[in-house]
């Protein structure tokens, strides 16, 4: 069984938001719904000594899932391959998971009355394709694959670079790993 994960190389991300739009189009989301925002931090500092970094955000596909635990209907699930997804037929739109998710990754769809989120493009991954945001990224800042496969790019990157997981202190154990600039270079 695969263990899907994503490495995001922030050294490469330029904040173009191609992934954001690709995801919206792929998932046919209403204009006000985004699974996959890119936040820009900066420029920080004082002109001309500045720094700027872009951090793409998405569902972290945690190993310990507060969202799944919060779901009263069993609509939210974590699959054996690590993908956290929502069975839309079972979702009643109670938003308990929205409250529970520490990453703000779950969004209530007003039109459908259900909660939705990134599922690593399950429909594509099941057919052996990569998620839409990964394919769309010119910069190759997103790398997707199977962590259990030591030859996968995602496993190689994770094993050779210092990576961080967002809000790791919560113990949620995300499957999304970030490479930051300087720390990575020093390693």
């Amino acid at each position: 069984m695969a263990r899907y994960a994503m490495v995001i190389d922030t050294r490469r991300c330029i904040g173009c938001q191609s992934c954001t739009v690709a995801c919206k189009v792929h998932n046919e989301l209403p204009v006000d719904m985004i699974y996959n925002p890119v936040t820009t931090v900066g420029p920080t500092g004082v002109f001309p000594n500045l720094h700027m970094v872009h951090i793409p955000l998405l569902c972290m596909h945690c190993e310990n899932t507060p969202c799944v635990d919060a779901c009263p209907t069993g609509a939210s699930l974590r699959r054996e391959d690590g993908i956290v997804w929502i069975d839309e037929k079972k979702c009643v739109g109670c938003k308990a998971c929205v409250m529970a998710c520490p990453y703000g990754a779950r969004i209530f769809n007003q039109e459908k009355g259900i909660v939705q989120k990134c599922d690593f493009c399950l429909d594509r991954v099941e057919k052996g394709n990569i998620p839409r945001c990964v394919q769309s990224c010119h910069q190759k800042a997103r790398i997707f694959g199977d962590l259990d496969d030591p030859n996968s790019e995602v496993a190689k990157l994770k094993n050779s670079h210092h990576t961080v997981r967002l809000l790791d202190e919560l113990g949620s154990k995300p499957s999304v790993f970030y490479i930051y600039g300087l720390e990575a270079r020093m390693k």
Binding site: I14, S18, V21, F47, P48, H138
Partner: protein, 748 residues
């Protein structure tokens, strides 16, 4: 690409198409069934984008059948700009337009018909072919702002513009006024890749802390418009610190002594107050480029957009490459010359059919000689002698756009009665928008080929529906000047009654007695003709795309060794340029300050104390496009300008405040982005803005002047570059003040 899309469903075809929302033409795979595009994705096998698409590329299907697209020929039935249209047939439109053009030619001469173009996203060799056969020299684009002055000045000095950068073998790249992080995704990808793999040094020269600056080894935030001073100071450092390549200079350059004498005065200390950069930083950056060889200086539009200082700045930049020997050697900037293997755009233009008498009438040719027939003829002749072919005349040899707009209004030097507009919205994309708008209102007869009802289209007599992304084949070849090409096919036939711009020019030409000159019924037929000499043996253009897709000749370095020198009159790189001298210009880059600056114009600077730069690109828009599409508009839904917190505080401006920005030409408003990304006293505005969600009626025309940065730019003859005629988007002086909350919408 929609969820659960079945790639393998019965009857589906995969077409090798391309994105058409900027010049990169990234490869796109289109999944087509029954002549409908069901899904698209970036083509992983395409050499530039390798599967990536930017946010614009991803919304191609929303663009394709957007409810606001123009789908049928329209004829104006109300007053101009009133928004009353009648749907007519293409035959009726073309018959009536042809009759009107014939009448104007009869009455005023062929030169009374001008054409305005936009970016290179049309088959404009066909436009030139039409105009040459019609007899008018007055075609133009706003390409003065985009590479064309660079190409022509570099060709004058070196015999060809070294625009092919051999990045894979490079150790250092200078991004001078370029921000590939927002404008050239494939390039940015390669830069990141090479930086990580090879330790490529990146120097970014830009007044803004851009996406690209943030990834660079060195960032030079110069005063907007001071590029010339910086380039001259770099020449000084490289020469007087002995960092130039003495062997290359000795053997392959002419005029080094004159250049060394000329730049002696331009010390980094001299440049410091002009560029707002420390002399140390100027030295450090010049050394980084000159000592990390081989290296590249990537072209960016910044130098093309500085008005009177543009020509000298471009000239100085090419000299930096030349004296460091960073020309045509592995890892440097390569002079490929035109393709000798396929038929170039120039060979499709029928330039020989335009009489000398008509060429002499080209508007602006008397003032700005390099990008008009006097300079182009000279360079074309030189190029033919050395390479065997000339650069494209469309783009490189055009009427001076601001002078044509003025001629419409004044009749000087002669009346211009008709304007054929294709793929441009001049109100928002040409300089001095108020003047342009007046000219568009005043011109007797106007036809616009468009996707949308733009402010310009709204003022037209006829609006014709044009095929866009996925509906048209495309050959990508750097304004027809590259020795390689990338070919893409249309995914589907044009929807509704849309047609290729090629067919507009052809069908119009046939009605005006040019039938013998248009043997290619479709643009694919014409493309196949262009490709035939390559010898791939394809029976159709589509077959070429499906089997070959592109043609890259083997890279040849140091061609000057075999060819016995460079393609200039002396056979050497002419640091002291005989071509420019013969045209009446200085053979060396002379210093001239930005169009408006505090040193030359202290009085003006009292009233307009801030320094303005306009026109840089930003995601997700391209020029004045894509404001209609909510799925990208949400990323940047309103116009913003950048201002440093220190200056904002001085003016009592807070983040998000609407602020008037005013120059001598007028004012427009944008919202404040208070950011450290720019220096105090610098204002940087976004380009292109109009508001398709508003009513497209006179006088507001969807707010086409309200937040339009080109209201601020200057196109006066004395502000234009004397060589190229390019106008001033950068290095201007402005003042700002908050929009009064009680103030109503600006009535323009």
């Amino acid at each position: 690409m929609k969820r659960n899309f079945d790639f393998e469903q019965e009857g589906i075809q995969v077409k090798k198409s391309c994105c058409y929302f900027c010049h990169q033409n990234c490869g796109v795979l289109a999944y087509v069934k029954d002549d409908k595009v069901l899904a698209i994705e970036g083509d992983p096998d395409f050499p530039t984008n390798t599967g990536g698409l930017c946010c614009r590329g991803n919304i191609a299907l929303l663009h394709l059948d957007h409810p606001d697209r123009i789908n049928y020929p329209l004829k104006r039935i109300g007053k101009r700009g009133e928004g009353k249209w009648q749907r007519i047939s293409w035959d009726q439109a073309l018959d009536e337009i042809a009759a009107k053009l014939a009448q104007i030619r009869e009455e005023y001469g062929a030169e009374a018909v001008a054409t305005a173009g936009g970016t290179q996203r049309t088959d404009d060799w066909a436009r030139r072919r039409f105009m040459n056969l019609f007899g008018s020299p007055n075609g133009f684009h706003n390409s003065h702002l985009c590479w064309i002055p660079t190409f022509m000045i570099e060709t004058a000095v070196c015999g060809w513009s070294p625009f092919e950068i051999d990045l894979a073998n490079s150790r250092c790249i200078v991004l001078w006024g370029q921000n590939p992080g927002a404008s050239n995704m494939p390039e940015m990808h390669h830069l990141s890749e090479l930086k990580q793999k090879n330790g490529l040094k990146i120097i970014t020269i830009d007044p803004r802390f851009t996406e690209t600056a943030a990834k660079s080894d060195l960032w030079l935030p110069l005063r907007p418009g001071s590029d010339l001073a910086l380039a001259l100071a770099w020449l000084h450092v490289i020469i007087y610190e002995g960092l130039y390549d003495p062997v290359f200079v000795e053997n392959y350059c002419e005029g080094f002594g004159e250049l060394a004498n000329h730049v002696e005065q331009f010390t980094p200390e001299w440049a410091e107050p002009l560029t707002w950069l420390s002399a140390d930083l100027i030295r450090e950056s010049a050394r980084m480029y000159a000592m990390n060889k081989p290296g590249n200086i990537q072209w960016g539009v910044a130098m093309d957009q500085q008005g009177r200082a543009s020509g000298a700045a471009i000239h100085a930049r090419i000299l930096i490459r030349a004296i460091t020997g960073n020309l045509d050697v592995p890892g440097s900037d390569l002079l490929t010359g035109p393709s000798l293997e396929f038929i170039t755009d120039e060979e499709m233009e029928a330039n020989e059919y335009l009489s000398e008498e008509q060429k002499a009438k080209q508007i602006g040719a008397d003032k700005f000689k390099l990008l008009t027939w006097p300079g182009y003829s000279k360079i074309a002749e030189m190029s033919k002698k050395y390479w065997g072919k000339a650069p494209t005349a469309e783009w490189m040899c055009e009427a001076h756009p601001p002078s044509v707009f003025r001629a419409i209004l004044t009749g000087d030097p002669y009346p211009v009665k008709a304007l054929l507009v294709s793929a441009t919205n001049p109100v928002n994309s040409y300089g001095e928008s108020k003047l342009v708008l007046e000219a568009l209102r005043a011109v007797d007869f106007m036809v616009t080929c468009e996707y949308w009802m733009t402010p310009t289209a709204a003022l037209s007599d006829y609006v014709l529906p044009i095929a866009g992304a996925l509906e048209r084949p495309t050959i990508t070849s750097s304004y027809g000047c590259s020795d390689f090409l990338l070919a893409s096919q249309r995914a589907i036939k044009p929807m509704y009654e849309r047609r290729n711009d090629y067919n507009f020019w052809r069908d119009l030409g046939i009605r005006l007695g040019q039938e013998d000159m248009w043997p290619w019924e479709t643009v694919e037929d014409a493309y196949l003709h262009k490709l035939e000499p390559l010898g791939y043996g394809s029976d159709s253009y589509d077959e070429f795309v499906e089997y070959w897709r592109f043609h890259f000749p083997e890279r040849q370095y140091q061609k000057y060794l075999d060819k016995g020198g460079f393609g200039t009159p002396s056979g050497k790189i002419e640091l002291y340029s005989s071509v420019l001298k013969d045209l009446g210009y200085s053979p060396l880059p002379e210093y001239v300050g930005p169009v408006e600056n505090e040193i030359d114009h202290p009085e003006l600077a009292k009233e307009y104390p801030l320094v303005l730069s306009t026109g840089n690109g930003f995601m997700p828009f391209h020029h004045s496009e894509h404001f209609q599409i909510p799925d990208v508009r949400f990323l940047n839904s309103e116009p913003y300008f950048q201002i440093n917190p220190e200056t904002a505080e001085e003016y009592g401006i807070k983040e998000g405040d609407w602020v008037w920005i005013e120059t001598q030409r007028g004012r427009m408003k944008q919202k404040a982005d208070v950011t450290q990304a720019v220096a105090p006293r610098v204002i940087i505005t976004q380009r292109g803005w109009w508001f398709p969600e508003r009513k497209m009626e006179e006088p507001d025309l969807a707010g086409c002047l309200e937040s339009n940065t080109n209201v601020l730019t200057s196109t006066r003859d004395e502000d234009c570059c004397p060589l190229s005629g390019t106008w001033a988007n950068r290095g201007l002086l402005c003042k700002i003040y908050k929009v009064d909350s009680t103030e109503q919408k600006e009535d323009n």
